[in-house]
Symmetry: C2
Subunit: 138 residues, 2 copies
DNA sequence: CTGGCTGCAAATCTTTTGCATCCTG
DNA sequence: CAGGATGCAAAAGATTTGCAGCCAG
């Protein structure tokens, strides 16, 4: 993977007002928003913001490693601006997702790799959040 | 969770020809098929099989713990008839998913649980499968 | 200037739902 | 026979795409 292409990619990442607004919304956001959340939030400032731009921007950010796409919510794609290694804990009731900034040793025997070259790992803990427990008790 | 309700649920699980065909297709299947895969495969024997029945049946099986829904593929819901505890390795290129029948110690400090009661965990390893490596090399 | 970006709408894809009819238990 | 299950079609969501015009670098 030549450094040249990396440079080119970054040079060609135009900082449009829309993209700045999306980046601003994502910065420090720990809600793990879906494209629709981003769209609704950013549209307040930019009423002409379109879905296509949101999807396009999220895809561009994903390619550049600036956000990660989450798979824990089976109903829609959600995004995480926190790109440092961490895991997730998701409420099976309300789909809230929180970060678990803990490292685990996840090495396992070659024999189970089925010819894959392993590039990463991610743990998805499931559970019920405090709010949902309180709600169901009411 | 009263035993009574469990009995009722099972008693009311009617074994229709369609459901038997879906169960037969799923049995021992290690492809982690999506609803569409199930539909296309089972429709060969039952040309009148409808999507609604496939989704309905998969949902019913999921409720009864007979299949598990996977989240590793962000494009669609996939199902796993292997209900024994295991993890997954997914090819980031072709989305092939293989089982990793290894146990890990995934305990972590209370302080990170954010008030959740944890009910489960699942590791998603990512990588590139042999076929995709060979293909890209060609 | 120019190639990438935006907005809008239409198209795709996946999954869900309403409802009349059917059939398992 | 009753209530759950099926099939069909339409609806609902989420995501993608085509394209003409726009603008950041």
């Amino acid at each position: 993977m030549p450094v040249r292409s990396e440079k080119h990619r970054d040079r060609r990442f135009k900082m449009t007002p829309q993209r700045l607004a999306i980046l601003d919304y994502l910065k420090g956001n720990v809600q793990h928003p879906a494209a629709d959340d981003v769209f609704r939030a950013v549209r307040r400032k930019y009423p002409t913001m379109s879905f296509a731009t949101v999807y396009n921007t999220l895809e561009a950010l994903k390619k550049r490693g600036m956000v990660k796409e989450l798979t824990g919510d089976p109903d829609k794609k959600r995004f995480d601006p926190n790109t440092s290694p961490h895991h997730h804990l998701i409420c099976t009731n309300c789909r809230k997702i929180v970060d678990i900034p803990v490292q685990f040793d996840l090495d396992f025997a070659e024999q189970y790799r089925e010819g894959f070259v392993i590039t990463g790992s991610h743990i998805e803990f499931s559970g019920i959040c405090l709010e949902c427990r309180n709600r169901s008790r009411a």
